[in-house]
Amino acid sequence: MNRLNIALVVGLVAVGIYLSTLSSESVGSMKASFMSLLSPFLRTGTAMQQNIGSFGQRLKTLDELDVENTRLKIENRVLRTENSLMRETQAENQRLRLALDFRARSSHKLVAARIISRDSSTWWSTIRINRGFEDGVEADQPVVTDGGLVGKTTTVSKNEAIVVLVTDESCRIGAKIEGTREQGIVTGLRIQENTSEGMLQMNFLSKNAEITSGMDVLTAGVAHGSFPPGILIGKVREFHRRALDGQAFVEPAMDLSIIEDVFVLVGKK
């Protein structure tokens, strides 16, 4: 390696070290600009992902058509398909009605958002929603559905925001167990064995607490925290007594891998 190349390597490593010293605000704004720039391409990628997912199903339908191959059966399938589409519309209608009702009941100002993509990294559990600072969304705001807590916003760009899910270890929530005086910190597991299910842990509980499986875990609403009190996080699955404290494993209130619409709590009504 000649001297020029060595100088270039040293220069580049210096740039890397300099970048690592930037404040989280600076890198956050860089990430927000990057998100806006990349957004159209990633949305195309998400549409591609959905198409890949439905490819097998479409092949199965073709196969069935080939085997049956009678006019009557095709007609029958068309009618059935129409019926299922109508059922799907009905289900969507029902879901949106529930969401509207939830918004009307809530004492918080809610911004409805749609999930545009799910996380693409190995180590973090995040989703991307189609609301940004233009819609009043800011960083560290809770994201919920009528079923319970989903997570909180992290990086917010003009028209999009990244939401870290409750199943991520970096999302820490002050929580309480309903019907008891027990309070603790709920976090996700660092390595989720089952990516689709997700599991939470609640630490710093009293060793002698009377906690049974099935008890509701709610946000405690600690001062200066991101989450208001009383939002359902999940249900206790197991409780372990350790040497100094107790630990509960909590099942999230809903399957986070299938939700489509969420609400961002942007303030009080």
Binding site: L8, W124, T155, S170
Partner: protein, 183 residues
């Protein structure tokens, strides 16, 4: 001129690799491991490009990776910006040693480096997260999520090398042509 075309192709390739790996869902049968293509694309560039161009590629790929994987919660950055740049500079320096070798040896080295580079990148992310959050946690799923993408990259690499080197041969090398005409 050829180097410039190669460099632009790498920029486009890395961008495309990010979009494609974002679109591919995790594989539940492999404990949620994901396909990671960016180190593979970079390794190819590092083996093909001259050293200064390789450094430009390392900066671009590293900067892009840092922004793509940046995770800020509660004002804390889990993996600082710049780490990926340093990582790709080191990987590039290793890969560029095989630039002058015979074509077959280059292909196998590219395959090994792609696999090892992918695993090392994921392991680096895991270690950075562990260092930031504190406490050591390990599970079989973590090993799968580190090793399976590396294995997949190593398997894809020979095919990728064949296709891209074939396309590369179709691009006219004007500097080589000029040298030949002078002689």
């Amino acid at each position: 001129m050829k180097t410039l075309i190669d460099l632009i192709a790498l920029f486009a390739g890395v961008f495309l690799a990010f979009v494609v790996q974002h679109a591919l869902p995790p594989m539940d049968d492999l404990q949620g491991a994901r396909v990671v293509l960016v180190p593979l694309v970079f390794c190819y560039a590092a083996i093909v490009l001259p050293f200064p161009a390789m450094l430009a590629a390392a900066f671009y790929t590293g900067f892009f990776s840092d922004l793509f994987y940046l995770h800020i919660v509660g004002g804390a950055v889990e993996i600082p910006m710049g780490i990926s740049i340093i990582y790709y500079v080191i990987l590039g320096c290793l890969a560029s040693r095989f630039r002058s070798g015979p074509e077959t040896a280059k292909m196998w080295m590219f395959s090994v480096l792609s696999g090892a580079g992918t695993c090392a990148f994921l392991l680096l992310q895991f270690l950075m997260i562990t260092w930031h959050r504190g406490g050591w946690e390990w599970a079989g799923a973590a090993a799968w999520r580190i090793l399976a993408p590396g294995l997949m990259a190593a398997l894809i690499a020979p095919l990728f090398h064949l296709v891209v080197s074939h396309i590369d041969n179709l691009i006219p090398d004007f500097s080589r042509m000029r040298r030949a005409s002078r002689r």
